[in-house]
Subunit: 125 residues, 2 copies
Amino acid sequence: MTEITATEREMGTAFLPRFDAQGLLIAIAVDSRTREILMVAYMDEAALAKTRETGLAHFHSRSRGKLWLKGETSGHFLRVEEIRVDCDQDALELRVRPEGPACHTGATSCFYRRLEGDGLERVEA
Amino acid sequence: MTEITATEREMGTAFLPRFDAQGLLIAIAVDSRTREILMVAYMDEAALAKTRETGLAHFHSRSRGKLWLKGETSGHFLRVEEIRVDCDQDALELRVRPEGPACHTGATSCFYRRLEGDGLERVEA
């Protein structure tokens, strides 16, 4: 197999996801309507395949070391409407329709606090 | 030093960034006006400190193994207006004002292609 060049990966039309040394890609889930960033997690090859196959966001849990269907316990699935890939194909943007709060804390988005001075302040997204 | 509990990290007002085993956090840069995701990269403790100190996004380059001021060669700095942190404090959302295209390819955003079938299609962001 020939080496994939940086130019092919960056400018081409072939989807050539670049998993890191741990076999992972970054996946950022964004609400397709509000454009709010809901959460960020990792995908391995299996999670990416399952996401494409089912249309529901799957990730790889680093702490549990396994495939994780987002919403499998809460019912708060993320329906994937579009997948974008970055220049070097090591990160994905998932444009999703969330079926409930994306954060396990009950917040719409995991990014519910902002840095204010040296502390955090809760924000409404 | 006492252990930080998950509840303190998730619900508290203390900024307690959680660097991974490689000493890194995910940092997502978003255009504060358009809400477009511009790029995603990693920050180590030094990159985070420099970003907070200067107001310009700094990252840690995994490939070069060093601190990287975004825009240091291109002049396309990202001026950080707000920093949000996610529930478990291992990822940051930087709301920025970009001084030029964020992507080294010249695109506004690194996420300039979407998955369409098995290939990629260029999109205007």
